[in-house]
Amino acid sequence: MKKLINDPRSVVDESVEGFGLAHADLVTVSADPKFITRKDAPVQGKVGLVSGGGSGHEPLHAGFVGQGMLDAAVPGAVFTSPTPDQILPATLAVNSGAGVVHIVKNYTGDVLNFETAAELAQAEGVEVRTVLVNDDVAVEDSLYTAGRRGVGGTVLVEKIAGASAERGDGLDAVAAIGDRVNSNVRTMGVALSACTVPHAGSPSFDLEDNEIEIGIGIHGEPGRHRIPMENADGITDRLLEPVLGDLGIESGDKVLLFVNGMGGTPLSELYIVYRRAAQVISDRGATVERSLVGNYITALEMQGCSISVLRLDDELTQLWDAPVHTAALRWGV
């Protein structure tokens, strides 16, 4: 294992510390318990937005803290959800009296820890709503699993719910917007190689040189099947077909197309994927109205990508376009 680290046990602490130093104009970092809030939190009269999850998915979530998006991010250990004693103070720190929305990816650990923290916050008189993100179509039969995972769609939920909170929507309205994004977005991912968790020291799963894993989550954990390597267009079709099918995209639909890198794939390759995906959507008679390409929800240095499609309406488009000023997303300001 070759990594730019000092000690596997201090990876998250030192990374968060560096993030705070690099973006001191945008965020405030609490070291113990560990959480990141936007500089001007709590914003009076505004619903607070808190998200979090395991580290190793950067820029998710800390990179999305700032005006127009999250009020706080709570990082856990690498690939491990944060704990209630981090989530609770983060929630209290961003509550201005208007309540707080938790945005939670559907992974058992995240759900259990946020659920506990929400109970504790409510016991302290803070109204909490939870938006559960479960956009991953790779998980076929949710009757026998913990349900669909929250993956790439999380970024879009955070941006759009963030804009809703920023324009002054109330607690239930912000949560409803978050739910609406979640129910209109689907994602599927592929891994070309595994990643190595620093404290484990060896790759998280084994993949032969000529194999790829279709339907991965954001830790490389699989959802569908392992197949021989194909070209970019072939892989793109395999990812996009179930996404469009599950979402029921038809002629005339307007969508946001999000091609996300898992951390170890160059942007040039993500654009090759984007090119094909945009063609396929256009061939269906649908319109790609907005796009996002880059590394936004990663799995350490894993090679691979995910494709998310969000069905847009006028309000969601407007909220997507609203100003955002965070370390990882910035426009309109």
Binding site: T83, T108, T145, A200, G220
Partner: protein
């Protein structure tokens, strides 16, 4: 023989040793069907429990378990943190401030711990989770306590052996809860890491009483 706070502290100390010794094994089990963090998280959590025990020594088994619950919830993360935290919290609540634990109370505490895990994780027997270790352990403890020989060690041994058998029995199962569930059929042939760490914890309870 009754169990007291010294047993509880020895148990938790042996748990910490077991997690440190088996850290890599648990990481490997989790690497196969999860995301490689279970051994690391459990080791970190129980080391923190040792620190807390040294800081403020508890006076009853119930107090020791409550401190353990709070520490695991705040230090472990993942699914294991809330699940083990709930287990120790329910055991603590069941025992109250009693200074000593007899066989019936011990079995009751183990059943309460199991019920807490089931309530928090919403998993059932056969889902390939730690419930597959805790349910047979709780039932074996109840059965051993009901025999009425008044021996806590017999209850602990029965629980530990049932947990180990239960953990081994997860090998062929297809996971239906937790991250391993995303592997579907491919999760078969691997031991559930949570069931494995549960068996280690219950085995440590025997060592602490022997």
């Amino acid at each position: 023989m009754m169990l007291d706070v010294n047993w509880a502290i020895r148990w938790l100390t042996l748990c910490a040793e077991a997690m440190a010794e088996n850290r890599v094994w648990l990481i490997e089990l989790d690497r196969a069907i999860g995301d490689s963090d279970h051994g690391e998280n459990m080791d970190r959590g129980f080391q923190a429990v040792l620190d807390k025990l040294a800081e403020a020594p508890p006076e009853t088994p119930g107090a020791a378990f409550k401190l353990t619950a709070m520490t695991l919830m705040s230090k472990v993360g993942g699914a294991a943190g809330p699940l083990y935290g709930t287990a120790f919290l329910r055991a603590s609540t069941f025992l109250g401030d009693a200074a000593e634990v007899d066989p019936a109370a011990l079995a009751g505490a183990l059943v309460a711990a199991r019920d807490g895990i089931v309530a928090r994780g919403k998993a059932e027997s056969g889902d390939k989770t730690m419930v597959d270790a805790w349910t047979p352990a709780a039932e074996a403890a109840q059965a051993a306590a009901a025999v009425g020989t008044g021996n806590v060690l017999e209850v602990l041994v029965a629980a530990a052996e049932a947990a180990e058998a239960g953990a081994m029995a997860t090998d062929p199962l297809v996971a239906r809860k937790g991250r391993a569930s995303y592997l579907g059929e491919r999760s078969a042939g691997h031991r559930d890491p949570g069931a494995a760490s549960s068996a280690l914890i219950l085995r440590a309870a025997v060592g602490a009483a022997a």
